[in-house]
Symmetry: C2
Subunit: 420 residues, 2 copies
């Protein structure tokens, strides 16, 4: 199987200033075409470091992809490092310069600076892949059948370069194995209990199929990875292998193939023709964001309200001020009324509400940071839930709450499915 | 200066299944106490790989932090690798076992499994740091003054271990340098023009102060990193160094010290006692999420509506159906009316609206994917803007749109500041 090393070049990642999202994207894409990523390295913008890392990467893998270090400014040293490592020289490309001029003109810039000129300097033996969303081209260097791609670091330039140019090129160059991955989502069983329950099954898996446990919030994702020639055959084989799990843990599985919680919910809503709305006091739009991140979500997501002000809760959603005074905003009672009111306002089959204390300060009524109440209205029925997740940072609390809320809804919907 | 290597162990990162957020968090925290991260490595769950990587890390740095590979299931090999690398043996800790029992009991589990027992096996020479949010403890191995910390991989276990236990320990053990970082946010000047404008200033920076350019959306962040003994002295020095920039690029700077766009906006709103509301048809809650991710945001953020359904736009926000029919939902006119209506509904000083086509399909009226209209109401004045960002994936489009929208508001607010 062909293997890859991804190298991220940039002090902004090492200093924690920027989260590296490129590597994750590239790893996913490579897996899909059957290339196994062996290493992801993040190193600093220094020629010596880059050269050493290229050395290690070329020894360890068939494909090397570097991102970063191609900007027009002084902190970028990638090109010099490539020149040294590949014993190549950097030369100015008249053709790229003309193209860059046209690109910048389209963006409203008429003058080309000396700095821009430096972006048209490429390695003399490189094959050039054009970058339609930025000023630095992608370069491919090849030695002894090993391919090294030099990409810019900006994520929205990296994505189209990988998808539209590099993947098609690799598929054409190499006869690739297929890696087929299947995620099974399990709830209500902690990792250790789950592992105990399926131990015999796990030990009997064939050698070309591997299993991982990935805990996400209160869910555990079982990931099966199968390697072979034919995708369809692998798919069928994994289907067969999963069969015994239906007996062992069937009641705890909320999805046999989807991965992200929003996709699991989306496919259920879609299948059953249900629609949904949200009112998020505590999670402040995160449920809406997740639900609408799925393409085609306008078919089931109808709208939401983020009632930060108490006054909004009463005026827009008709929650009585007495109820709020009596129980406080962060309460089961208010969660229930919010869900009911949301369902009616948006005329949806389902409505979700959240209210809680994300911190860093306690709630107005003294409720602890990490307190969450949420309710789900489904048709006439409304159920309420509470959760206490102390010790988390504000955003982690919200993200975990959202995972749990959506999971609760899925479990309820699946329950219907089992009963009828 | 003390240096560190962060090692992430786990096939789920290499396969692109999970985004590694631990490394970013750890890198940030280490920088704050003056430890420079030299490398971030991501490697697979294999004993040989882990041993080799520990070797390289111990050669290159004073501090090594590994995350991942301590779960109770079979895919986790970190502990064996540590035992081999440190020539140590793994032994069962009665004390940890009792504590784990109490921890799980508190979480409602009465039975301890053999698997849980394995989590109480630690290296015999390790110093143990207790994990209050999970079942795997943190272990510290020390050889020749170099410190290697073995952490679990779950982010909400990693964060408190780092902040509450490891950082205080390191500060006490080592006399650390101070690294002071300052971010200056520049808009309206592409990286190459900016670099040209400040070239002489940049070349004159003293050797212990380094400069990086980090493009984010249409903003460029200049990051100055200064290293020395005393934080206050460094701060004053950087203040001085920034002075000439006020003349060179002052009009393009939207923040002289904040980093994230939501923090820049937050501090302006806070300073001027302004409040804000949002109506997000296209960005579906992401502006609200960003604004409320800042602690204390309830002082200025009052609420929002996500009017996915056209019917919601008319009923809740009073947008006339004729207007929508005439101009279509994705139009400048609707953006303006949404902002006006939002401002009035929430009684806020400022209201932001967005409407656009995030894809993957074109808008109902045939508008292209990547089309965005947004409007900002500030007091009586309403301004509208449009943007075309083709070729982006759905979520990238939303994230970029949100950056740009908030940036536009900041520029407007700064304009007021300059004029009066």
């Amino acid at each position: 199987m062909k293997t890859a090393t991804i190298i991220t070049i940039g002090d902004e990642i090492l200093s924690g200033n920027t989260v590296d999202t490129n590597s994750n994207f590239i790893a996913q894409q490579l897996k899909d075409i059957g290339i196994k990523v062996r290493y992801i390295f993040t190193i600093s913008d220094e020629v010596e470091e880059i050269v050493q890392c290229l050395q290690k990467a070329v020894e360890a893998s068939d494909l090397i992809i570097t991102t970063g270090g191609l900007g027009p400014t002084k902190d970028d040293k990638t090109k010099q490092a490539y020149a040294r490592f590949f014993k190549d020289k950097i030369s100015f490309s008249e053709e790229l310069y003309h193209k860059l001029g046209a690109y910048l003109y389209k963006k409203g810039r008429s003058e080309l600076l000396a700095l821009n000129k430096s972006q048209c300097e490429v390695l003399s033996t490189a094959k050039i892949f054009e970058n339609s969303y930025g000023t630095a081209p992608c370069q491919l260097l090849e030695r002894q059948g090993k391919l090294t791609f030099c990409l810019p670091g900006v994520p929205f330039e990296v994505k189209p370069l990988i998808k539209d140019q590099i993947l098609p090129y690799l598929k054409q160059r190499w006869e690739l194995h297929t890696i087929y991955t299947r995620i099974v989502s399990v709830v209500g069983l902690p990792e250790s209990l789950l592992s105990n329950r399926i131990e015999d099954w796990e030990l009997a898996l064939p050698p070309h199929v591997s299993l991982s446990y990935l805990p996400v919030g209160s869910r555990v994702k079982l990931r099966l990875t199968a390697t072979g020639k034919d995708r369809k055959e692998l798919e069928e084989e994994v289907d067969q292998l999963l069969h015994p799990l239906r007996v062992l843990i069937g009641d705890n599985v909320i999805a046999w193939s989807e991965d992200a919680i929003e996709n699991i919910l989306a496919s259920i809503l879609w299948d059953r023709g249900l629609n949904i709305s949200t009112v998020e006091s505590c999670t402040s739009g995160q449920i809406a964001r997740l639900l609408t991140s799925v393409p085609g979500s306008s078919r089931y997501y109808k709208g939401g309200i983020i009632p930060y002000l108490t006054h909004v809760k009463s005026q827009l959603l008709g929650i009585s001020e007495d109820l709020i005074k009596k129980h406080s905003v962060v309460s089961k009672e208010v969660a229930v009324e919010l869900a009911r009111s949301c369902r009616d306002l948006f005329h949806t089959d389902i409505a979700i509400s959240s209210t809680g204390v994300a911190g860093p300060d306690k709630g107005e009524d003294g409720k602890e940071v990490g307190t969450l109440y949420y309710a789900i209205a489904k048709g006439e029925e409304i159920r309420s839930f509470d959760l206490y997740l102390p010790g988390l940072e504000r955003n982690d609390f919200v993200n975990m709450a959202v995972q749990k809320i959506i999971e609760t809804l899925i479990v309820w919907l699946e329950e219907d499915n089992r009963t009828y």
